[in-house]
Amino acid sequence: MNRLSSKASTLTRNPLHKFLAALAVAACLVVSYSVHAHGIWFAQRATQLALLYGIGADDLDSVKRQSMVQSIAGYDTDWKPIPTKLRVAGPLLLVDSESQPTVVTAVLFNGIWSKTPQGEWLKKGRDEVPNATTSEKNYKYAVRIVGPLSGPIPPFPDQTLQVIPVGTIPQLMGKPLKLRVLFRGKPAAKARVMWDWLNDPDGKPVKTAADGTVTIKVRNQGLNVITAIFDGPSDEPTKADKMEHLATLSFVLPHAPE
């Protein structure tokens, strides 16, 4: 028996190693779930506003997903639309508005995904993966507050799921922020809200109350990306059991003067 197989044999015999191996498998399962639950959000890249796709520190190739972007919109302080489009700049999708927008929104349709009994996610519907443990249709929404705001943010027509600040956003991290999650313009109860999609993507979500509200602490003195996830009924039951809606609200708290 060589050294490697000897080590492998030790791994399978030692109860501690068995436990660690089980832990690793569990971690992989969590990771595979997280990989599936991607979102879109807006963030500044080299002074320009970009639409990003991914999760946590993984902002992935958004340019190859441009065809999946169903809408991009900008609004002024009176919530009147400003002509806004996306343009490709190297590996980024940048927001290009005719005037400075107060808020920018986007929607991306991420297709229908099914999870096999083996835990693999396939970009196919239940009609093609009949033994899937789950099949879902995925929509991603994003709202960016560029500011300054002159009043409460309304529900935007393209945002089926939307996270709205209730009252003024505090200017210091650690302060409480009340949010309301709307689904089709109405309060969404039991939506899962995560306070920091970028730096704590595996954090435990907080569920909204019956009136769609939840209070979190503002996580960062910088970019904040708050996420809400809500499962809605399927509009194609033969292909998907449910529709997963994932919405982000992003804003920036200013840093101290340099």
Binding site: T47, Q48, D78, D96
Partner: protein
């Protein structure tokens, strides 16, 4: 071997920490971009590397632009103002006026008005905005 720490040693460590903290604050200040005081009697806004100085005069308005403390040639750029005064909203195109200055004649901005200056950079695509409240 167990080592006892005296009050004197504790105090010395505390002082050292304070010195380090002050040093780090000094380093932070050294990262500032460009001027932090207006040079033309206007209102200064810093946006990342860029500094915008808006000068609302009686019969015209000026916008002066610097990038990381360096004057940028206004002729290479484009700029416009969006002015919200009470319920009225208007847009003013600025024209390059030599050096790093933009200008629009015949424009008077009232006190309290909110102004957004939108600068289009040399690539004619990238844009940077600065927000002002006229005092």
């Amino acid at each position: 071997m167990r080592r006892n720490i005296t009050v004197k040693q504790l105090l010395a460590s505390f002082v050292a920490l304070i010195v380090l903290a002050v040093a780090s604050m000094t380093l932070n200040t050294a990262r500032a971009h460009g001027n932090n005081q207006p040079e033309h009697g206007g209102i200064l806004q810093l946006v990342g590397d860029m500094s915008f100085e808006l000068v609302p005069a009686v019969d015209h308005v000026e916008l002066w632009v610097e990038d990381d403390g360096e004057e940028v040639t206004s002729a290479d750029l484009a700029a416009k103002l969006t002015i919200v005064d009470g319920g009225a909203k208007s847009e003013v195109a600025l024209t390059p006026a030599g050096g790093n200055k933009f200008e629009a004649k015949g424009v008077k901005i009232a006190k309290g008005a909110k102004v957004t200056a939108l600068l289009t950079l040399k690539d004619k695509q990238s844009k940077i905005a600065a927000n002002f409240t006229v005092k």
